[in-house]
Symmetry: C2
Subunit: 236 residues, 2 copies
């Protein structure tokens, strides 16, 4: 399998490109609209056809490239049904499975950072979006965030995976790129050996500034990153 | 492929178990003698036969389990020919290739921590021993260590691998388990954006204490962890 970890320096966002070498079917996870040209180059360089562009949640810090990729490649876009992004072709839910080539994509609902936050498990690689970060986790103080729910989903649905499962987060702000379930379970300062109440206490006292792009990014991402797409939303 | 990352809490050593699910051939990298019973259980649980027990170098902080595993399983032991461990069945050198099942093991000579330090590349997993650690690297102030050589080999033979290549070190002292070439190339404080001279300067001024077990471990490891094996060494 071809695997590339891409980085948007403005929003510190990781985007993931995975492609099956036999069928040449490819997917993106959390593409950023500013880099769509690079993504098309990547597809062309590997001779791949984009099958899916998937979101881990409705982002507050960047505008997704999913809508534009759909226009340019006929890929299907996918997002959790709780995201309120009716523009997406696939309204996913926990337990769904998708394929590209012979590779299974398991949809793991991990609401908490947002109600539609989702992780994707592909082989031994887990793409956690902003649910589980390396040495941290996504904030829960806006967009319907819920720290108790986040604790339940991270500990119940992610920390129960094999220790060697690789954790690929949606962001890192200090250059870290990969971790594992075993590592996060044992040394993540917010989660390792913490009770649910301790976690909620930590999350409710982070006092973080509001993301700069939230008022632009969230509505744009609910329209797959293409505000004109609002014309095509279901009207009923 | 089955993959397990095991940990020895006394010496903070990572041991790796890899097994091919079709042929049931397995390997260990850097086994620790105290855990050989656990390793046999692991082999039995997965229904695997041990093909190789490989060393990344002659360790100064623990005694290898390779010799005992060879006695108990008929596995072949492998170590770099520069290690002076004549007990080993395979005297490896940079560029050698081995197989278990359909999986290729590429032997990458990375002398510097010791003259026989070696990394093993299996798929996209790189087992770096004490050459490249997460956010660090092995010391070079004993056992024939050479910081200039270590710099040349890490930057020339490891940092030239694809960014997504997973780095599995021989130790970590703070619970980190996995990194990537891209991460180490960009944020390893000893190596990222450092010149050869700067690296040598850093390494020559670490002022670390002597490892507690060095006087026991090094001679024992030159005999594959079984001092009696000295009887079986080539005499000519």
């Amino acid at each position: 399998m071809i695997f590339k970890q891409l980085f948007d320096q403005e929003s510190f966002t990781y985007t993931y490109f995975l492609a099956d070498e036999e069928s040449h079917e490819a997917i993106f996870i959390d593409p950023v609209v500013n880099h769509v040209e690079d993504y098309l180059d990547l597809l062309a360089n590997y001779g791949c056809k984009l099958k899916y562009s998937l979101e881990t949640h409705v982002h507050a810090d960047h505008v997704t490239g999913s809508g534009l990729l759909r226009q340019l490649t006929q890929a299907q876009t996918g997002v959790n049904q709780e995201c309120g992004a009716l523009c997406a072709d696939m309204q996913l839910q926990h337990g769904d499975v998708l394929y590209f080539g012979n590779h299974l994509i398991q949809v793991i609902g991990t609401p908490g950072h947002t109600p539609g936050s989702t992780s994707y498990l592909i082989g031994d690689r887990l793409f956690t979006g902003d649910s589980l970060l390396i040495n941290g986790c996504g904030r829960t103080d806006f967009q319907g965030g819920d720290p108790g729910l986040q604790f339940d989903n991270i500990t119940g649905r992610l920390f129960t995976l094999p220790e060697e499962t690789l954790v690929y987060p949606g962001h890192d702000y200090s250059g870290k790129r990969v971790s594992s379930i075993g590592q996060e379970r044992s040394i993540n300062p917010r989660l390792a050996f913490k009770s649910r109440d301790e976690f909620i206490q930590i999350m409710n006292n982070l006092n973080l500034p509001k993301p700069k792009l939230i008022d632009v990014a969230v509505p744009a991402n609910r329209m797959c990153g293409i505000p004109d797409d609002i014309e095509t939303l279901p009207q009923g």
